[in-house]
């Protein structure tokens, strides 16, 4: 089994505030992350693909095509933006890094078969580091 991983970075702001909870409950639950004015992070995103190595080209995936997809679906819409107000998925969904990972997977998966038709590589893993001290990983 072989897996290729590409690392990307984007910086964005967010605020964690669950609509169903009171202001006090949100403060108690999310602490500093509930600051009404929001705050930001330099996110590091790893996208991993797996699949057979093409016998001639020696590659699992076209890395430039993967870069273009991630730029279009993630870096463009997220980098230097406010996730709560500028990314439609987070209008009603709390932009925790867990939800961010799920949203990124859904954005990439939605275009995957178009980008890699036929027996292309599989989207194998998404890992996001929100700060140096935490990271979140989605395995397929």
């Amino acid at each position: 089994m072989i897996r290729l991983t590409r690392r990307y970075r984007f910086s964005a702001s967010h605020r964690l505030d669950a609509p169903g909870l009171s202001a006090d409950e949100n403060r108690a639950l999310y602490g500093k992350c509930n600051n009404p004015h929001g705050h930001g992070h330099d996110y590091a995103l790893e996208v991993s693909v797996s699949g057979p190595v093409d016998a001639e080209s020696g590659r699992v995936a076209d890395v430039e095509a993967l870069d273009a997809l991630v730029r279009e679906q993630v870096i463009g819409p997220f980098d230097h933006h406010d996730l709560n107000t500028e990314v439609p998925a987070f209008a009603a969904l709390v932009p925790t890094t867990e939800n961010l990972a799920l949203e990124i997977r859904s954005r990439l998966a939605g275009r995957w078969s178009q980008l890699f038709p036929g027996r292309g590589p599989a989207l194998d893993r998404i890992r996001i580091q929100e700060t140096k001290r935490n990271r979140f990983e989605l395995l397929n």
Partner: protein
């Protein structure tokens, strides 16, 4: 238990298929197809899987692993042009994928013991691009 040892070397390479034109190679491999080559500071992480030997408390002697890596990978590849100087890259394109498979092929025979098996080889071509190979069908 998994234990990992890291090594690094610097080498040049070029990714191109002889049967394709310059333009086709550029479309396939991008900047990596420049016929004069270019280089990377490659970082390799080798991970072994096994249980610590009760007396020594070690899964595998990491000095031995270091020596195997040095002899089989770092010495033959460090400060070399992979395509010209390191077989099989005279005929196999030295992509990161193929490099990970080749590192596995070179070191695996030297790491056989009843207690331990080679779990994975990771090759970083840059900080932002790496490949993991776990053996078997690639």
């Amino acid at each position: 238990m998994l234990i990992t040892r890291r090594a690094d070397f610097s080498a040049s390479h070029v990714c191109r298929l002889p049967r394709l034109s310059d333009e086709e190679n550029r479309a396939l491999y991008g900047a990596a197809s420049n016929p004069h080559g270019h280089g990377h500071n490659y970082v390799i992480e080798v991970t072994l899987e096994g249980d610590p030997e009760p007396e020594t408390g070690m899964v595998f002697d990491l000095k031995r692993l270091k020596d195997v890596l040095q002899r089989e990978v770092v010495e033959p590849m460090d400060h070399r042009f992979l395509n010209l100087e390191v077989p099989p890259f005279d005929t196999v394109v030295p992509t990161t994928e193929n490099l990970a498979i080749e590192v596995w092929r070179r070191i695996e025979p030297h790491l056989v013991s009843p207690r331990v098996r080679l779990h994975g080889v990771r090759v970083y071509e840059t900080e932002d691009l790496y490949v993991d190979y776990f053996g078997g069908q690639s």
